[in-house]
């Protein structure tokens, strides 16, 4: 397996956030994780990224244990709920940030960043500072900044939570297109049922510190705990009135 998470446990104070959580993910796949607030989604992602330490359990990437590897050496990018663009850098420099860390040549940085801006449909926005961009544009820059370093795993923590419906739909399509194009293994966390079904090649439910991965989306739909049946019932009732 490309990414293997085994028996992860994490407790904050008296609250056990993760309980012997395990799952595996193949390379180049996007897994949606549906879960309510407080279900431990963010903690799981931060442990995989190396930003939190588990109390127990292992994270393996390409068969290698990652527990002792610091975040900056994992090549696993974690994106927050908000774009968190560096406020002192313009859109171009935000996207180029990871390339400058890797000491690419100026010409290569320019060429690759401009290509990324083009893919993100951000032509003409390169010199704008974060506050001069719309919410959707800021999120695109954040994706560009993450994708340009070609991470082994991309972790997205409810990235569209703050966007309006129309922008959210456009961003979902853009993200799917870009992740598929760059073949990056991705975990996409959301509390939106429809978004979870739309985004993932694979789908999982996180509840009370445990993660259940479904064989098929049909299994996910059938499981009463996911809330899909309830949702279907709601719309059926509305239609039949």
């Amino acid at each position: 397996m490309f990414l293997q998470v085994s028996n992860l446990s994490k407790t904050f104070g008296k609250e056990q956030v993760l309980r012997n959580l395990s799952f595996a993910l193949d390379a180049h796949r996007m897994m949606s994780v549906l879960g309510r607030s407080g279900s431990g989604k963010t903690t799981l992602l931060k442990i995989i990224a190396g930003l939190e330490s588990p109390d127990n359990g292992r994270v393996e990437l390409e068969g290698k244990a990652m527990n002792e590897t610091p975040a900056h050496l994992r090549n696993i990018v974690y994106l927050y709920q908000e774009p968190l663009l560096f406020p002192h850098l313009n859109a171009f420099e935000n996207i180029a940030f990871g390339l400058r860390l890797r000491k690419w040549t100026e010409a290569d940085i320019r060429q690759k960043t401009e290509t990324m801006l083009d893919h993100l449909e951000l032509n003409g926005q390169a010199k704008k500072m974060p506050a001069q961009l719309s919410g959707g544009q800021r999120q695109r820059v954040a994706f560009g900044r993450a994708l340009i370093v070609e991470p082994k795993v991309l972790l997205l923590d409810e990235p569209f939570g703050a966007l309006d419906t129309e922008t959210r739909t456009a961003m979902q399509q853009l993200l799917k297109r870009m992740v598929a194009g760059s073949q990056i293994t991705t975990i996409f966390v959301t509390h939106d049922l429809k978004e979870a079904l739309l985004m993932g090649d694979e789908i999982a439910l996180m509840q009370d510190g445990l993660l259940k991965k479904y064989e098929t989306k049909a299994d996910f739909v059938q499981d009463a705990r996911t809330g899909v049946q309830e949702e279907i019932g709601f719309w059926t009732n509305i239609q039949s009135r």
């Binding site: 990224a49 190396g50 975040a71 900056h72 696993i76 968190l84 406020p87 890797r102 001069q132």
Partner: protein, 287 residues
């Protein structure tokens, strides 16, 4: 509606009367006095006091020293405070240490100057310690750290006062600007702790604190008690030079003191407006 406007103009008038008017009157009087048009011994319009100040060299050396002392003090205190906050940002936000940081801010400048004098003078504690350790054979071997032409004692006193203030400032900005989250994000993008500090945290902290740093710079340039006790006879910082000339027995020196005051105010105001406006433009393009 008319009442609202009336109240607004009355508030504005009161504000101007209490702030701008006294300053304008002070500058006006200083200008008249420096040109021989007002005050005791007014001799009629003349620019000779201005010529004496501008061509004498004393004022420029004094201004240079003031700039140097303020620059070194703010630079050193800024570096120390940044290092402390970067090392352990949470430590300064809560707990005993965060309270302890307020203590030096409560000390009057004269007390700090006195403490620094007791520590760094030839007969001070550091000199005695150096003697006990065999590093010096007497007072004459100990370097001049107070009343010296480089202003080392003045800088030490200001660094002592400014560092806790900057630590509090940077620690609060670290929290309000969510720099911990930025640092984590930078780490997942491949940044080491050092790269994260250099490329993200320090630039954001300095940009957000820039107006405060400029104002503190001006405060240090114009400080009086510390350079009075710890400064050299020549050159003196502008504030000490001005007061010395004002208190001279020779009445001809008094208009020069007013000319120095006006010049100093013009330099500082111009620098502050230039720096703060540049920063406001940069900030407004990102807010």
């Amino acid at each position: 509606m008319a009442g609202i406007y009336k109240g607004k103009y009355a508030s504005l008038g009161l504000f101007l009367a209490l702030t701008a008017l006294p300053i304008a009157l002070g500058i006006g009087y200083a200008l008249l006095r420096s040109m021989g048009l007002a005050g005791l011994g007014a001799e009629g319009f003349t620019l000779r006091h201005w010529e004496a100040v501008l061509s004498g060299g004393e004022f420029w050396r004094s201004l240079g020293l003031s700039f140097r002392v303020a620059g070194c003090s703010i630079g050193l205190a800024g570096v120390l405070a940044l290092a402390a906050v970067l090392k352990a940002p949470e430590r300064w936000q809560r707990g005993g240490l965060s309270w302890l940081m307020y203590l030096p801010l409560t000390l009057p400048a004269m007390v700090v100057a006195f403490v620094v004098f007791q520590m760094l003078s030839g007969a001070g504690l550091v000199s005695r310690l150096a003697y006990k350790l065999g590093l010096t054979s007497g007072i004459q071997d100990f370097p001049n750290w107070v009343n010296d032409s480089w202003g080392i004692g003045i800088i030490a006193a200001h660094v002592f006062m400014a560092t806790p203030f900057f630590i509090i400032l940077f620690a609060q900005l670290y929290q309000s600007e969510r720099l911990g989250e930025y640092a984590q994000l930078a780490a997942t993008l491949g940044a080491t702790a050092r790269q994260s500090a250099r490329r993200v945290i320090v630039p954001v902290l300095l940009r957000q604190s820039f107006p405060t740093l400029v104002l503190y710079f001006i405060f240090v340039m114009g400080s009086y008690e510390i350079p009075l006790l710890l400064g050299s006879q020549s050159p003196q910082m502008v504030s000490v030079l001005t007061i010395r000339k004002l208190q001279r027995f020779d009445l001809a020196d008094i208009p020069q003191a007013y000319a120095i005051g006006v010049l100093y105010m013009v330099f500082v105001a111009a620098a502050a407006v230039f720096l703060l406006r540049n920063n406001a433009e940069k900030t407004s393009s990102t807010c």
